[in-house]
Every structure is written in structure tokens, then in C-alpha cells.
């Protein structure tokens, strides 16, 4: 049985009777047992996955209506709630939190007969780019276990790359789906703000974060988007996608499309390997019939500072609920004074989350808001104007997803500014609400490089067409695990 298969091929195989759902899920669980001791993509497993598979098999053999997913295995980032299962956000403060309700995205997947394999590792509360900030230890990159898988959805990307599932859901606040997708050579989409419900996603920075699919192929990404996108009465920020079919016409091509190569994301700061791959990708786009030219977005050098200012502010507010009374550690209140009781539980936050909370108190505070938070909001406004102007001329904007390839554990963790700058190419899509996708493009010296394509709002359909076109120009090695 080929666990490297795509969702679409899997569904065809199950429909034609090549194997049962139970057989495939059992093989996937065995694969997890075989490799996850090394990869550590999962924080917890769905103990009833095989039983879930049997139920779908029974429906198939009885000729009953089966959901579109036909039992394909999918992992879920551990900041997305599933009733009755632990949702830790990779934090000690939620070590024993069992979700009392199910996120809309998971509900939609289960309604269409997907089988959840388990919950995947992340940087604590999705704050980080390497999974080194997980309270339960980092995930390793399946391409080389000495290297980081990217983050914060590192567990999601690694689980897909290591064939421990066929797809995953991550969340992307500043690149947290696209960055690990690039580092692990899988497809990762950050949709238009509001396209996918955030109901059941544990809040970090509500104004910009989105749930996004991680898949092996661009077509699988379109398939998953068809299932999870759309308005949700439980999330008033969701938008009407007019029941778009993201899979139909995906092979349409990009002949005659205009592509802007973002100057600020393709000049300084790229490693030589990423720079060379980017030049080749531009040539590929031209061979596909697109017209590429450089476009300057002068606000981009200020976006990382604006992004961290805004997200820290929202995190400071969102994470106030972990006070040992409403959520959190559940320490006995006997013998404690109120403030020390709360501080005691909040000492359970890991180092990066602690720092972001402090920042989140500082940057919007009286006396400092004018220098930081209000300026950050104005940078966001200026960036939106610039990017909207660019989309009057171009169909897509492109850059490498990350300025560098995966790096070794410990290599960058001690320098907060270097870590922040890993987000340089990805935060623009979040601050502007635009959809962006990372497409696996090359593997150099055994380490992946992904290309980012940004589309205009609600234009996921054409974005996926461009991503599919680029994907069709690549021929990548298999993960050596």
C-alpha cells in the first residue's frame, strides 16, 4: 500500500476497492508508530481512528452515502479543538485541557468522512517558526532530522511530509502554514482572511490568523478547501465564497497572466540557494506563458515590526484568560493570595509566549502606543493600499516563501531579531488579508525550498491554478525517511 499517495488518488483507490479504509488507516497508524518516535510530529493520537475507518467501510459496503473524504487520514494542529480530545497548544498551561466543543473545520471534515489521525505539534500557542518553542519538545524535519521543520505548524507539515497522514490543518498568523510547508516540501495555503471559519481555533491574533490546509499536492489543497471554506454563523468574520469549486479548472494554466516579482522579498537577505531557485522559478513562470516583472512594495521592510507589534498586542489580550480561574493550570486556590495565584499559574507559559505577553502589554500601553501600536496599524493600512495597487496591474505576486532553507536546531533560537526576520516574506499576506500559497519547488543539498504565490482577495481559485502550473514544472525527490 502506497502511503505516499495523494488524497485524490486515495479516494479513487478506495472507490475501486483496491484497499479498504481500515487497511489504509491501519497502515498509516503503523507508519506513525514506526517514524514518529524520530519525527515527533504528533502530540496525541486518535485512539478510535481504526474504529472510525471501520464505520466508513461499512457504509461503503452497504452502498450507503459516503462523505467526499472516503476516510482519508488527516492530522489537526493542536490549537484546533475536537470535542473530548486534549488541545494543549503545545503549552504546559493547557496540559490537561480537554476541548468541550469541536471546531467548525473539523466538524466539516468529519461530516465528509475524513478520519482524524491525531493532534500535531506546534510552537507554544503558535508563536514561533521552528517548533523549538513547543513545551513538549521540537518536531524534526523529515528531510533531515537534525534540521527544524519550520513553524509554527511544524508538526502538521512534518506529519504530511513523513507520510503519517495525507493532509493536515494548520494555522497561519504570519507564515505558520507556509513556512513549515516550504521547509518540509509540502503545499501550504493561507487563505483570504475570513474564507475559513476560526471557530474552535484557540485565539492568538484574531485580526489576521487563519486556518489553512497542508497537503502533498496542489489539487489536494483545492479538494480540502472545497470542504472547509465558507461562511460560519459561529464566526462573524467569515465571508461568502459563493460555493466556489477550487478544484475545477485547476489545470487551466497561467498563459498571459501578469506576475509581479516582489523586489523587497527577492533581493537582500536571501541565501544563495534560495536566490538561485527563485530565478529558476521566475523562468518557469515565463515558460508557462506568464509575464513577469519586478514590482517594488516600499512598505515591506517595516512589516515584520508592524506584524509583531499587532500580534503581540492581540496575544497579550487573548492570553489573559489563562489565569488559573477561567482557563489553565487548575491549581488549588487554598492558601493563595489572588495576584500571586494568577502569576503562579502564568509561570507555566514557556519563554517565547511570556515574552510576547510582555511585549503585548508594552506596545499598546499609555505612553508607548503612539510609538508602536498605532504606527503598526498605519503601516498595515499603507501596505494594504500598496498591495491593492499592485493587484490592479498584476494577477499574482511572487517571492520565495522563506529567505533561507531549513537550519539546524539551536542555530537561530538565541537571536530574537533573526527569528523574527524569517517571517519577512510571509507576513504581508496576513497583514493585508490576501491568500498566499507555498509550493514545493526544489530540494538543494537535501533541504527543501518553497515558492510563495500571493493572490488577490477571494481569488483562491486562480491562485491554485498558478500553484498547480508551477507544481507541474517541478520534479522533486522523495523524502528520505
Amino acid at each position: 500500500m502506497n502511503l505516499k499517495t495523494s488524497i485524490l488518488d486515495y479516494i479513487n483507490d478506495v472507490k475501486s476497492g483496491s484497499f479498504t479504509v481500515e487497511e489504509f488507516i491501519s497502515a498509516t497508524i503503523q507508519r506513525i508508530k514506526d517514524v514518529d518516535g524520530d519525527v515527533h510530529a504528533y502530540l496525541s493520537l486518535n485512539e478510535s481512528a481504526i474504529e472510525d475507518a471501520r464505520i466508513i467501510d461499512k457504509k461503503i459496503s452497504a452502498g450507503e452515502k459516503v462523505g467526499a473524504c472516503y476516510g482519508f487520514p488527516i492530522s489537526i494542529k493542536d490549537n484546533i479543538c475536537i470535542t473530548g480530545s486534549k488541545t494543549t497548544c503545545a503549552s504546559k498551561i493547557l496540559e490537561n485541557f480537554v476541548a468541550p466543543y469541536t471546531a467548525t473545520v473539523v466538524d466539516k471534515l468529519q461530516s465528509e468522512d475524513a478520519v482524524i489521525t491525531g493532534k500535531t505539534n506546534l510552537d507554544e500557542f503558535a508563536m514561533g517558526l521552528t517548533t523549538e518553542f513547543s513545551a513538549y519538545g521540537p518536531t524534526k524535519n523529515p528531510w533531515n532530522l537534525k534540521y527544524v521543520p519550520g513553524g509554527s505548524s511544524g508538526g502538521s507539515a512534518a506529519s504530511v511530509a513523513a507520510d503519517e497522514c495525507l493532509a493536515s490543518l494548520g494555522s497561519d498568523t504570519g507564515g505558520s502554514v507556509r513556512n513549515p510547508a516550504s521547509f518540509c516540501s509540502v503545499v501550504g495555503l493561507k487563505p483570504t482572511y475570513g474564507l475559513i471559519s476560526r471557530y474552535g481555533l484557540i485565539s492568538y491574533a484574531n485580526s489576521i490568523e487563519q486556518i489553512g490546509p497542508v497537503t502533498k499536492t496542489v489539487k489536494d489543497c483545492g479538494f480540502l478547501l472545497n470542504i472547509i471554506a465558507g461562511q460560519d454563523s459561529n464566526d462573524d468574520t467569515t465571508i461568502d465564497n459563493a460555493n466556489s469549486d477550487y478544484l475545477s479548472d485547476i489545470e487551466q494554466g497561467i498563459d498571459g497572466k501578469k506576475i509581479g516579482i516582489i523586489k523587497e522579498m527577492t533581493s537582500d537577505g536571501l541565501s544563495p540557494e534560495v536566490s538561485a531557485a527563485t530565478k529558476d522559478a521566475i523562468q518557469d513562470f515565463e515558460k508557462l506563458g506568464a509575464n513577469c516583472e519586478e514590482v517594488s512594495l516600499p512598505t515591506i521592510p517595516y512589516t515584520v515590526a508592524a506584524y509583531y507589534t499587532i500580534t503581540s498586542t492581540e496575544a497579550g489580550s487573548n492570553l489573559a484568560r489563562y489565569d488559573n480561574i477561567r482557563y489553565g493550570y487548575d491549581l488549588d486556590s487554598e492558601g493563595y493570595e489572588y495576584n500571586s495565584y494568577i502569576s503562579k499559574s502564568r509561570a507555566k507559559f514557556g519563554p517565547e509566549v511570556t515574552r510576547r505577553i510582555i511585549l503585548g502589554g508594552f506596545v499598546p500601553s499609555a505612553g508607548h502606543a503612539g510609538k508602536y501600536f498605532l504606527k503598526a496599524l498605519k503601516v498595515k493600512s499603507k501596505l494594504i493600499s500598496e498591495v491593492n495597487s499592485a493587484f490592479e496591474k498584476y494577477d499574482f505576486l511572487i517571492s520565495p516563501t522563506a529567505p533561507v532553507q531549513p537550519f539546524q536546531f539551536g542555530e537561530k533560537i538565541d537571536d530574537p531579531v533573526t527569528l523574527m526576520l524569517l517571517d519577512y516574506n510571509t507576513v504581508t499576506a496576513n497583514l493585508t488579508g490576501k491568500p498566499a500559497i507555498s509550493v514545493p519547488y526544489r530540494v538543494t543539498d537535501g533541504l527543501p525550498i518553497g515558492m510563495q504565490i500571493i493572490g488577490n482577495s477571494k481569488n483562491e481559485k486562480s491562485l491554485l491554478q498558478a500553484a498547480y502550473a508551477l507544481e507541474s514544472k517541478t520534479e522533486l525527490p522523495e523524502v528520505p525517511l
Binding site: 468574520t237 515590526a305 487548575d330 489572588y338 502564568r346 510609538k371 530574537p416
Partner: protein
């Protein structure tokens, strides 16, 4: 230049005890110093754009009963209430 005392004061307001975590102060300071880049962009003509939605477009503000009695699983649940620590 960001004052370290001010960082510690804000941390306390955010209910973060920095007594044993002084290394955080230096790192937060480094991040704030990087944010100084925001002083170098001309934003004089920029307005802050906010997303707005009319009240009637929002979900109705109505009580949704939950019969799971989650509160009873809390360590500090005492028959009819949750015991909070003493306030001085």
C-alpha cells in the same frame, strides 16, 4: 532607549512574574529596539483602517444552553460555586 524597569513594570501588569526570568527582559528589549524601525517610515498621510460590520449582520446575542456541566470538573468547584483565592 527602552527602560528595563518599565518592561518589568508592564510584565507585572500582565501578571507575569519576572523574578526568576530576568533573561526575558533583555530579549524583549532587543525586540523593542528592532521595532524602532517604525520611526523611519513616513505615515503622516495614513489613516488607521478598521473592519466594520453592522450589528444586524452579527449573530444574535442569545443564550445557548450547555448541559455538559464543565464547571463541575474544576478542581476548585464547591457544590454551587468556584472558590477563588483571597483578595487582599
Amino acid at each position: 532607549m527602552v527602560d528595563e524597569e518599565e518592561i518589568i513594570r508592564v510584565a507585572k501588569l500582565m501578571k507575569i512574574d519576572l523574578e526568576d526570568h530576568t533573561e526575558h527582559v533583555g530579549r524583549v528589549k532587543k525586540m523593542l529596539e528592532y521595532f524602532d524601525i517604525l520611526d523611519h517610515i513616513d505615515l503622516s498621510s495614513e489613516e488607521i483602517v478598521s473592519q466594520e460590520k453592522a450589528l444586524d449582520e452579527l449573530r444574535k446575542d442569545e443564550f445557548v444552553p450547555n448541559d455538559k456541566k464543565l464547571i463541575e470538573s474544576l478542581k476548585n468547584f464547591r457544590e454551587h460555586y468556584v472558590r477563588a483565592p483571597k483578595m487582599n
